[in-house]
């Protein structure tokens, strides 16, 4: 029944990453690179989120290389004008990262000192979520604008990649929004059960979505 | 049971090697100019692979024979040289293999793919489609007509979509269902796919090349022996893949000219 809302007091902790010394033959006393200190649980979600970044990055790397190769073959690469609203959406997403950072620090403060209220943290999380919704809505508008210009999914390879890249990104952002909803829920329960590691991981994911979007935007601006 | 295992492995290893050594089922004799290098490469690789295979299996058999079922009274021993020695052995063995096969062998690849076709090579166009090959010769004018995919009409034997009415060079193009070539004459074969992926494989020529839709590829070779050989498709192309073939007919220079005239007349 873990309700570790409050972080344990900061004590000098052993190295988080155990050293990889081989122990040689035979056994012996415990090595000084213990994984778990009594009372402080390991936080696999911190590792997990970086693993998730690796795999998502790889998927978009594969799509990038598909884009580059496809541009090289065939002689039907027709440059498209990206809808202007994309820049607005970018600003929204970056803003949401800022608001999320504010939220994250408020949550950390709340966890450190019991008397600090949860309210502000919830507020900022809510704003972030709202900005996320604006972003996805803005992406939808971008698709509508492209359709109005006669550029549909199969029209030419540029438009195909545009829709594929933005749609996949939006799906992952939606996943991030589910994460935010969960964080808000855990925080606002009568007895809050939000772990700092969960908050951090959700925030890192959201920031990653922002970084990824900037990358995709630059890719599309230069290639499509 | 350990000894039974050892004996079984040894028997399997030796039995497996016999058909190779006796060449029961092997490649047919080579009829190309570049094939010799490939065959030499195959032989060298077979020696390396054979030695690696037999020695590994027999050592496994030997060690299992010697050590199976030993109990605690047997004093444990470490293989001389330990892991370090074996790592060095692996690097040395594979390293020499890479040098001997990989580096030396790239010449065989180069003669097929890096050397350009002969200046006086006879250019023939091959088109693969579900499920047949057609071959086109430029005809007396030495020029190929332009193929139009939208004009392809198999019912009227217009396999390449030629337009003889509007396209002069297309008028004398010769289209055949077999690939006839003169012996000892360099050939440059242009490969074009009509629909999906196919491949051109003639065992005796030691040639295999995929037809890739959208890509204009080519292989060049010279056949050194007259005869009839099978061209088979090796790239899965649909239900008729197993049946997709044509004949490579290697003729003397005179016979080839006769063949061209016959086809022209048709």
């Amino acid at each position: 029944m873990a309700t570790t809302v409050h972080e344990p007091p900061t004590i000098p902790s052993p190295t988080r990453r155990p050293s990889d010394h081989f122990d040689g033959s035979g056994g012996g006393p415990l090595p000084d690179n213990l994984r778990a200190v009594a009372g402080r649980p390991p936080e696999p979600v911190r590792t997990g989120i970086w693993v998730a970044f690796a795999t998502i990055a790889m998927m978009f790397a594969a799509l990038t290389s598909a884009l580059v190769v496809r541009q090289g073959t065939g002689n039907d690469w027709q440059y498209i004008l990206l809808p202007r609203i994309l820049f607005f959406n970018t600003a929204v997403l970056i803003a949401s990262s800022c608001t999320l950072e504010v939220a994250r620090r408020r949550v950390a403060a709340y966890m450190r000192v019991q008397s600090v209220s949860r309210g502000p943290a919830s507020w900022w999380l809510g704003i972030t979520l709202f900005l996320g919704v604006i972003f996805v809505a803005g992406q939808w508008m971008a698709w509508m604008q492209l359709r109005a210009a006669g550029l549909f999914l199969p029209t030419n390879p540029n438009s195909s990649f545009f829709y594929v890249l933005t749609a996949l990104h939006a799906i992952h952002v939606a996943g991030g929004m589910c994460g935010l909803l969960r964080v808000i829920y855990l925080l606002r329960r009568p007895v809050p059960s939000l772990q700092k590691s969960t908050m951090d991981a959700t925030s890192y994911y959201w920031h990653f979505m922002g970084l990824l979007w900037v990358y995709l935007l630059v890719l599309m601006m230069t290639k499509l | 049971m350990g000894k039974l295992f050892a004996v079984t492995i040894a028997i399997i290893a030796i039995l497996s090697a016999i058909p190779i050594v006796m060449n029961y089922w092997g490649p047919p004799p080579d009829i190309s100019t570049h094939g010799f290098a490939i065959d030499e490469q195959m032989k060298a690789t077979m020696w390396e692979a054979g030695i690696a295979f037999l020695s590994s299996q027999l050592i496994l058999a030997l060690f299992v024979w010697l050590h199976a079922g030993r109990d605690r009274s047997y004093k444990l021993k470490t293989f001389p040289g330990g892991a370090k020695g074996l790592v060095i052995a692996a690097f040395v063995l594979v390293g020499t293999e890479i040098l001997a096969l990989g580096v030396v062998g790239q010449k065989a690849w180069a003669t097929v793919y890096f050397d350009p076709p002969d200046k006086d090579a006879l250019t023939i166009q091959a088109q693969a489609g579900q499920f047949a090959y057609y071959f086109r010769y430029a005809g007396p004018d030495g020029k190929f007509g332009v193929p139009h995919p939208d004009k392809i009409d198999e019912g009227n034997q217009n396999f390449f979509g030629l337009d003889p009415e509007n396209d002069v060079p297309a008028r004398d193009d010769i289209v055949a269902g077999e690939l006839a070539i003169p012996v000892n004459h360099p050939i440059n074969l242009l490969l074009h796919s009509k629909d999906v992926g196919h491949s051109f494989y003639v065992r005796e020529l030691r040639i295999q090349q995929d037809f890739v839709p959208g890509l204009d590829l080519a292989v060049h070779f010279t056949a050194t022996k007259a005869g009839q050989y099978e061209i088979v498709c090796t790239q899965l192309c649909g239900l008729g893949h197993y049946n997709m073939k044509a004949y490579l007919t290697v003729l003397s220079e005179d016979d080839f000219q006769k063949w061209l005239k016959e086809k022209s007349a048709q």
């Binding site: 998927m59 | 399997i12 299992v64 050590h67 649909g238 239900l239």
Partner: protein, 589 residues
């Protein structure tokens, strides 16, 4: 108090215990069960294929029930042969070879071997199984759509797989279902790998440093790392393929294609792009299939030899090198594909270099048997058989790694023999070794050793009888993926095919012995002690089968590396990793 224990208490209801379980052990068993079903379906398909190759005009009684269109009157059509071929490959590679050695045994034993109560994300773990099961059902649905399963092979090369039903039967809904199934499988696999990596890095018990993990755990961990990056490439590839098929895009379909007298509306796409994307996944995938077996075989062999391998670190280094190099060699599937011939040489080099760690492993296994006390059990027989199969399959790779010799051997039965031996049979032997070794732990009962050995002999000899002749056929130039052998030069090879087919039926039939042994022993086998094999790793310190939280709420503390066998001065010829028996500085006898 562990964070993981907070995620779930002991399961109460039947559904929670055995169906929607978050317990890694149940999930492991579920994966195993799925792999078992998939392998028998895959094997049955291969029987149908082998039968048809040798008796193409004979009716297979009942086949028309499976497909009226594909086998009218029980006689298989050429396209149905290709459908069975595609489903055989897809089932075997994805649902058997990626599932059984990795997802099944890894899920069951990785947490226990590192001293954890469960995986890092138990609910994601449960999801990853059920998503895999969904992928399985979507794939199997392809058998029941009107046009039948896809015919483009497990490699689904474009444009054949991308243009749709114009290119022939078996390319309609079945191919869509294939693409969707594999995409779903990718997602499940990525979730699974995430769990393996986070668990290995973060949930190790006190004293369990990375260098004290058993080699099986290392293999699962490395495999998860490879898998993470490989499946992330297959997923977008399948997505783009589906879009080409249903949305009219042209990622893989060039212009000017005339199929069934119709000019296709696509243009500009690249069939080679599909090949690059697919094989960038596909080559690491074959190492995903074999690495867990290498780890399992090492673990079982050490236990059977009562002696550690010559070097633990070298084996880990070799496995990591294989994982790393596996990403550099994908082009060797494409030597003749029309890509730049210079790249063929570029890809050939790392392909030959990857032989080095494979040779290191083989030499270490062989060298470690020297001077050991090798105990022969069914598990150790399969482990030894693995070495034999891996060598046999591996040496044919010398031919395929070089573009010049590949010119003759590409797309022949030589390739089919190579990958079946080195990936299929070797991996399956690893799975069998794991099953016979860990069955007592998983079920609390011992398997029957006599029937186990019968199973081994029939399978070992049978597998060689089936797959060794494939190499001879390949050297004769026998092309693969043919539904019948009508070419002139193939006629003299038909007796070889007959031999193979009969061997396949016998070897396949022998698996009944295994199934019966599994089923019978599960309920009626003799009671298994906690450590029947006198093994050192952590799973043998807990009861058979382990309780829901593995260590009964205790937190094991690890004092030793995992291969303390034959240590002089010790009470037994092995020391459990958790034993407080302190024999620091002792010399091995």
């Amino acid at each position: 108090m562990s964070e993981v224990a907070a995620h779930h208490g002991p399961p109460q209801t039947f559904l929670r215990k055995y169906v929607f379980s978050v317990d890694h052990k149940i999930i492991g068993l579920q994966y195993y069960g799925l792999a078992l079903v998939a392998v028998f379906i895959g094997m049955f398909l291969s029987w149908l294929m082998r039968f048809h190759l040798v008796w193409p005009n004979a009716a297979i009684p009942g086949l028309q029930l499976l497909s009226k269109v594909g086998a009218p009157g029980g006689i298989m059509t050429p396209e149905y042969y290709l459908s069975l071929l595609t489903m055989h490959g897809t089932l075997m590679v994805f649902f058997v070879l990626t599932n059984a050695p990795f997802a099944a045994f890894g899920n069951y034993f990785l947490p226990i071997q590192i001293g954890a109560e469960d995986m890092a994300f138990p609910r994601f773990n449960m999801m990853s199984f059920w998503i895999t099961l969904l992928a399985f059902f979507v794939l199997m649905a392809a058998f029941f759509v009107p046009d039948g399963p896809p015919i483009s092979g497990w490699t689904a090369y474009a444009p054949l797989s991308a243009v749709g039903k114009d290119a022939g039967p078996g390319l309609d809904m079945g191919q869509n279902l294939w693409g969707i199934s594999i995409a779903i499988f990718c997602i499940a696999s990525l979730l699974g790998s995430l769990n393996f990596i986070a668990t290995t890095l973060d949930l190790r018990a006190k004293g369990m440093s990375l260098m004290r993990m058993p080699l099986s755990t290392w293999a699962w961990f490395i495999t998860a790392c490879i898998s993470l990056l490989a499946f992330a490439v297959l997923l977008p590839a399948c997505l783009l393929l589906i879009l080409d098929r249903v949305a009219g895009t042209s990622f893989f379909i060039p212009g000017g294609l005339v199929i069934s007298d119709r000019l296709q509306p696509h243009s500009g796409g690249s069939p080679l792009l599909w090949q690059h994307l697919f094989w960038f996944f596909g080559h690491p995938e074959v190492y995903i299939a074999i690495l867990p077996a290498m780890g399992i075989v090492s673990h079982v062999l050490i236990n059977s030899m009562r002696k550690p391998l010559l070097s633990y670190k070298v084996v880990i280094g070799a496995m990591i090198s294989i994982g790393f190099l596996s990403y550099m060699v994908w082009g060797h599937h494409m030597f003749l594909s029309g890509m730049n011939p210079f790249s063929a040489l570029v890809f050939s080099f790392p392909t030959l270099v990857i032989t080095i760690p494979a040779t290191v492993l083989t030499l270490i296994w062989l060298g470690s048997i020297y001077g050991s006390r090798l105990q022969i059990t069914t598990a150790s027989l399969f482990a030894l058989g693995f070495i034999s199969m891996f060598v046999s399959g591996g040496v044919s790779g010398f031919f395929l790694a070089q573009p010049s010799t590949d010119i003759y051997l590409h797309a022949t039965y030589f390739v089919v023999g190579h990958f079946h031996l080195v990936m299929g049979v070797a991996s399956i032997f690893g799975v069998f070794a794991a099953t016979y070794f860990w069955f007592p732990k998983m079920t609390g009962h011992m398997m029957n050793e006599t029937f186990g050995k019968v199973h081994f002999w029939l399978t070992f000899v049978g597998a060689y009888c089936i797959f060794m002749p494939f190499h001879y056929l390949g050297l004769a130039g026998n092309v693969r993926r043919y539904s019948s052998f009508v070419d002139d030069y193939l006629q003299p090879l038909l007796p070889v095919h007959k031999f193979i087919t009969i061997a396949a039926f016998i070897t396949g039939g022998a698996q009944i012995v295994f199934l019966c042994n599994l089923a019978y022993s599960r309920f009626k086998g003799p009671q298994a002690p906690a450590n029947p094999w006198n093994c050192t790793s952590l799973e043998w310190t807990v009861p058979s089968p382990p309780p829901w939280n593995n260590f009964g709420g205790e937190h094991p503390v690890v004092y030793h590396d995992p291969y303390q066998y034959g240590v002089e001065g010790a009470n037994e010829d092995f020391i459990l990793q958790t034993s407080t028996e302190n024999v620091k500085g002792a010399v091995r006898t």
